[in-house]
Symmetry: D2
Subunit: 161 residues, 4 copies
């Protein structure tokens, strides 16, 4: 069993035609999992639906508590990319005996050329094949928490030296 | 380093507007890897571009030889779903000290509602996190070769009992 | 008021993941009209859901009768491209005092790079702006029935000389 | 011959993955016209690439001058929806002996569920079938300039009473 914890981020942004902007309405995860024919037994839990730029200590605390409370030992968290490394480091401090994988998207699922499905596929597999720990899965790579940063100029994650 | 071996399959089918049918023209993998912002260093190799229904012993032999010849120890193979388990079993007999992951799609990358990106993301991660062996990655699951079958009625892979 | 008569064709083809082929299941028109925010009051009528290669005299007769029976004076017909000109000529013989526009797609709505929405938008406008008569609207062009042919080599419609 | 005058608007917005927002980079019109297999001979002209909320008198003057200077008698203008009616009214004052059609999109071409292709198809047909005048083509409807408004609450255009 796997828990899929949703916090929002670019991954789940939706275009609001009336307001003319990208925003949150609902998560696309149930529809996505059906579309890609995911057969992994999993529990969905919506924890937040926010831009990770606006996530603070309390939000990260809530994510940590959701991970601790989850009965599953494999957890995937969809998260905005801007503070994904911070949440990963916060979860590392919890020292849970679980495999926790954070992932997200540089381009929303609803926008053409999105990396959301590719990253999600990688994250679900990593949550089931990696040893207990906290990881960020983006761009086909598995980065251990605490040793990864977002390169804002290039729009991608990379190992810290 | 990872080698991505292309054999075609539903994954890479393209709609030919003149002939009015799904067929092969070229692989979409270079475009896909750029779109999803894959940063894993990899080598692309086109081995075949065929429907796996029409793959025979010689085709499987060619795939096995390409795996043996590859200098990389992590290999992802895109493959049609109809005979993916046969090729996986053939590769298992080779006993290579490499992590070889076969993947594909139930719906072509070029058709809406495709599972291609999700499966590819999972396959690339599995090729880098699983111990040496031969695997099929589909639907978010990692199936060891020899213990997986395609359920044709439901259009999905499942463990053999 | 406008009547939208559905006969199938490439426009409405759907990928059947179990059978691995393009086929018909249901029309996508209700979903399409909502997605593109069409506000033209219209009645949908499913007449056929077939590949136009397999349309015979009886099918064309049924389309003609549906046009005659329709209370609306503006009619759009979605149709396969292979025999669209034949149905248009058959409708021309009816001499109805209505504006009848046939349209379709070279690439199914469900396949990336589809021309379905572009052609449908043109057909709906033509049905409301052109004088009574029978027309084919494809590729941004309005062709009068009887003076248009499908260029099979190039996959497009063109005026007959 | 038809002239396609590009001014930007939601139609042409693109997701900038580095900045994480919808913005302008380039027009998608050449790619769109090829994809939908438009065979209408046309000239593309980029006049502006802006959000129509920020269009002022000078911008509208530039659009009017481009219409006047164009040798073609059929003109389609892609335009943001927020001030499309203002530009249409400005063009009406010019009294040109041309058929000028403004169109746009409620959802960008690059976002799933876009109405861009549908509206563009309608606009190109209207530019070739309507008598000289200024029109807005949206949602399958042809609205004469001066008698149409954007209903901001519902996100659609409607006739003024």
């Amino acid at each position: 069993m796997l828990r899929l914890l949703i916090t929002g981020g670019t991954f789940d942004k939706h275009y609001d035609a009336v307001r003319g902007e990208l925003t949150f309405r609902d998560t696309h995860l149930p529809q996505i999992l059906e579309t890609v024919r995911c057969t992994v037994p999993l529990e969905l839990e919506i924890c937040r639906l926010v831009d990770s730029l606006y996530m603070g200590d309390e939000d990260r605390q809530a994510v940590a508590e959701a991970c601790r409370a989850a009965p599953e030992r494999s957890i995937v968290i969809t998260h905005g990319t801007d503070s994904m490394t911070l949440t990963a480091e916060r979860l590392l401090q919890e020292g849970l005996d679980k495999t926790i994988v954070l992932t997200g998207a540089m381009v929303p699922f609803t926008v053409s050329g999105s990396d959301a499905l590719f990253n999600l596929g990688g994250a679900i597999v990593a949550a089931r094949t990696c040893p207990p720990g906290v990881y960020i899965v983006m761009h086909g790579q598995v980065f251990p928490a605490g040793r990864v940063q977002k390169n804002r100029g290039q729009g991608c994650f990379e190992e810290t030296l």
